[in-house]
């Protein structure tokens, strides 16, 4: 195998953790319970996928009457490219500059361009997985409905495979240049925060653009109007990003002269842009990455008084663990973004996306009634409290440092209580942000808002305990990149599934109570007691489980 081939193979194994997953599942026979859970999750996605296909089918038939059906293809490619661009920033910066294996690769006899190519290949495959859910249903449904021939399917496959190259290369070029400059100042953490907030702003802008054409209830007619408008999103993306047109034309044209011409144009441009990136990386890539992990130290000796002031007077174990959790969370950019900033941004994002008059709640007649309105507000607050992965990565975030937690003389239940408090406060931050959004947008009565707040805070305690139990069952402690602890941690996904289950259970409990001839206060009170009991049980189970797991987990 060539040097580049070997490097790329190792990069894939390391990034996707395939070898570890294989070993754990089939050799050590651990984690086998994940397979049915993933299967159930996949089955859960099927109705959504089915809905998408029905939706695309409807839009196809409507547009066909106007002879504009290929706008669906344009739309698919345009949205796919936009998603690749958005996620690309994150993937490119993460893979090229913040993966720990760079420290091991640089001393090895590889050319900078070889490392760049291997990393680029990993990002391209990540993008295939990211956009598959958006693009494949469109391409496949369109192809079947249009009874397309071999040219369509072959070109569509090639376009799908090549599609991420141009946007990713166009992202990578400025990133490589920017990192070369930024590395002089060694402001790595700042860059992650600004880069990620920049990405969030881009997502927000994209959502805003979408929202301009989206109505309260998106119907097939709306989509038709949206696609056929000269100012539509696909039209805008097409105008500013020609590869979208080339890709769509190549697929639509099949083996015709036009189809092959655009396919050639797409392939040629992709090769040229990628070549430019390889040449650029040969010159600048190492300049941006070498020494990036070095942090400048202030060399000043503290005076005796200064040192004495910094020495604490002795906290209790629980407080010490809580302070540690708090500091590490706030000082690790990827934890801060996903745990704290996201919790505040999520409700604000919804606020931003809901201009007055388009709030779906306003259309619900039941909202005028006390109990349903409080329950809907509490539901919204609870969802906002659990969009972060703080509780479901509470143990995983410690990584190899969990060995410290194992040897210190603080009881597992105390350590877990401190972590619970921290995770719960993060959730509460989301609930408070959601209450502000509700107060601004819906102007509920203070007493109703307080009732919803009480319900959400109680439900959030249960969700926090469940998230922590899931993480404690199989904490991801062997990461080398903190991103893996929270962003690529399966426990976060599993906890979200559990949250959906609990919220569904809450929904049915509420429905039963609402059907009974009870006063609103009794309905809310009943649910409050139900959640308080469940939260207390969840917390008790968590502490018991912690006693067991702290002994079992080996480092």
């Amino acid at each position: 195998m060539s040097r580049l081939g070997a490097l790329t193979r190792v990069s894939f194994k390391s990034h996707f953790g395939l070898a570890i997953m294989w070993r754990r599942l089939f050799r050590e026979k651990k984690d086998r319970w994940i397979i049915p859970i993933l299967a159930i999750s996949f089955i859960g996605i099927l109705p959504l996928l089915f809905g998408m296909v029905i939706f695309i089918q409807g839009a196809y038939h409507m547009l066909k009457q106007l002879e504009m059906e290929r706008a669906i293809l344009d739309m698919g490619i345009a949205v796919g490219q936009a998603v690749i661009l958005l996620f690309g920033v994150y993937y490119v910066i993460g893979a090229l500059y913040f993966s720990r294996d760079m420290e091991m690769l640089i001393p090895l006899p590889f050319r900078p361009s070889e490392i760049m190519i291997s990393k680029f290949a990993v990002i391209v495959v990540s993008e295939y997985l990211t956009v598959a859910f958006i693009i494949l249903p469109i391409i496949i449904t369109y192809g079947i409905l249009a009874r397309s021939g071999a040219g369509y399917w072959i070109n569509a496959t090639i376009v799908y495979l090549v599609m991420p190259v141009i946007p990713l290369a166009l992202i990578a070029v400025p990133v490589v240049a920017m990192m070369r400059i930024i590395n002089i100042s060694r402001k790595k953490d700042l860059l992650i925060i600004f880069g990620s907030i920049g990405m969030l702003a881009a997502v927000l802008g994209f959502q805003f653009l979408m929202q301009r054409v989206a109505s309260r209830n998106i119907s097939t007619e709306d989509v038709t109007a949206f696609l056929s408008s000269p100012n539509s999103l696909p039209a805008r993306v097409r105008a500013s990003f020609p590869p979208v047109v080339w890709g769509a034309n190549a697929i639509y044209g099949g083996f015709s002269r036009t189809g092959l011409f655009y396919l050639g144009l797409l392939l040629g441009t992709s090769a040229a842009v990628f070549g430019a990136l390889v040449i650029l990386s040969e010159k600048f890539f190492y300049g941006g990455v070498v020494g990036l992990n070095e942090i400048a130290m202030r060399k000043r000796q503290l005076t005796g008084d200064e040192l004495s002031r910094q020495i604490s007077s002795g906290r209790r174990g629980v407080t010490a663990i809580f302070v540690r959790e708090w500091r590490i969370m706030n000082r690790t950019p990827v934890f801060l973004l996903n745990g704290v900033i996201m919790v505040i941004l999520f409700p604000l994002l919804l606020l931003f996306l809901m201009p007055s008059g388009t709030i779906p709640f306003a259309a619900i007649p039941a909202l005028g009634k006390t109990a349903p309105s409080v329950l809907i507000a509490a539901l919204f607050m609870t969802i906002c409290s659990c969009v972060n992965g703080v509780s479901s990565s509470a143990f995983s975030r410690e990584g190899a440092q969990f060995s410290i937690s194992k040897v210190i003389p603080v009881a597992p239940r105390e350590q877990t209580a401190a972590k619970f408090l921290h995770s719960y406060l993060m959730g509460a931050l989301g609930i408070i942000a959601a209450s502000v959004v509700i107060a601004i947008r819906i102007h509920p009565k203070a007493v109703n808002l307080m009732a919803a707040l009480g319900l959400a805070l109680t439900a959030s305690a249960l969700l926090t305990a469940v998230g922590m139990i899931i993480d404690l069952a199989r904490p991801l402690l062997d990461w080398t990149n903190p991103q893996k602890a929270i962003k690529q941690n399966l426990n976060v996904l599993l906890a979200m599934l559990a949250d959906i289950g609990i919220i569904t259970f809450a929904f049915f409990s509420a429905m039963i109570l609402l059907m009974m001839p009870l006063a609103p206060a009794a309905v809310i009170g009943g649910l409050f007691i139900e959640f308080a009991v469940l939260a207390a049980l969840g917390y008790w189970a968590l502490l018991k489980f912690a006693e067991k797991r702290y002994r079992e987990i080996e480092m």
């Binding site: 050590e28 070095e294 942090i295 400048a296 130290m297 202030r298 060399k299 000043r300 000796q301 503290l302 005796g304 200064e306 040192l307 004495s308 910094q310 020495i311 604490s312 007077s313 002795g314 906290r315 209790r316 174990g317 407080t319 010490a320 663990i321 302070v323 540690r324 500091r327 590490i328 000082r331 690790t332 190899a400 440092q401 060995s403 410290i404 194992k406 040897v407 210190i408 003389p409 603080v410 009881a411 002994r551 079992e552 080996e554 480092m555």
Partner: protein
């Protein structure tokens, strides 16, 4: 391979650390890391733990401090069973791993405060000890900086400072001299002796024969998970029946 069963029995007596028939295997029993190990360390003793790579040294140390659970056998620190009453055992023991385990996002002083808090070190004692050890390890200019900015050796020093801060009755150290500059290594050896003169006990693993030979009151040699020799330097020489260096004895016992 030569077995020295009588000498191994000679390791018993008054003891602070006591391992009795301890075994530990990995990969569902396929790899035996520690095999029926019996070992004792006396009060005020510096005990050196030697062995080739993969002999079971780190596994043994990790079992003593509670990072790993033995499959069979009993481990006690000052008579406290580490499995039955882990918190009490941890309260009197500190551990320095072979690779510095630290919270890189905390500053040095924050990390030391954390350790002081969890071990319940009073403020005055904390001030005195931190001042002493950051002076010894030349960390005074670094201690208010994030640990992320430290070199490997500095991280090792802050971990050692943290391990010394509670003034533990038992210290367990895995290759503590790795990564230290010659001055710090020299001071650490002095400090080991000082620590044990106060009646405290120290168990450490090392690959540096010279350090083990000069510093340790007793030495245990572990090979393929079994303790194959244990005793003072003199006793080990008797085993070899010549005036050999520890290095030669080690090579002879572990089969070159």
């Amino acid at each position: 391979m030569r077995e020295f069963a009588p000498e191994i029995r000679g390791c018993s007596g008054d003891h602070v650390i006591e391992l009795t028939n301890v075994s530990k295997s990995y990969n569902r029993g396929k790899v035996k890391a520690v095999d029926n190990l019996t070992l004792t360390v006396k009060p005020g003793e510096i005990f050196g733990f030697l062995g080739p790579n993969g002999a079971g040294k780190t596994t043994t140390l990790k079992m003593i401090v509670g990072l790993l659970r033995p499959d069979t056998g009993r481990i006690a620190v000052e008579g406290i069973d580490v499995l039955a009453d882990p918190l009490q055992a941890k309260q009197i023991t500190t551990y320095v791993p072979d690779f510095p385990a630290v919270y890189e996002r905390l500053t040095g002083i924050e990390f030391l405060n954390f350790i002081g808090d969890v071990y319940g070190v009073p403020r005055q004692a904390r001030i005195e000890r931190i001042n002493k050890w950051i002076g010894v390890f030349e960390l005074a200019t670094a201690v208010s900086n994030p640990i992320q900015s430290y070199s490997h050796g500095m991280k090792q020093k802050i971990v050692l400072t943290a391990a010394l801060l509670p003034a533990p009755r038992v210290m367990v150290l895995d290759e503590p001299l790795i990564g230290l500059d010659p001055r710090a290594a020299y001071q650490l050896k002095d400090l080991f002796r000082e620590h044990c003169e106060e009646g405290k006990t120290l168990l450490f693993s090392t690959h540096i024969m010279e350090v083990a030979e000069k510093l340790c009151d007793r030495i245990g040699i572990i090979h393929k998970g079994r303790l194959i020799a244990c005793g003072t330097m003199e006793e080990l020489r008797t085993l070899g029946q010549t005036e050999q260096s520890l290095e030669n004895i080690f090579l002879e016992l572990t089969g070159k």
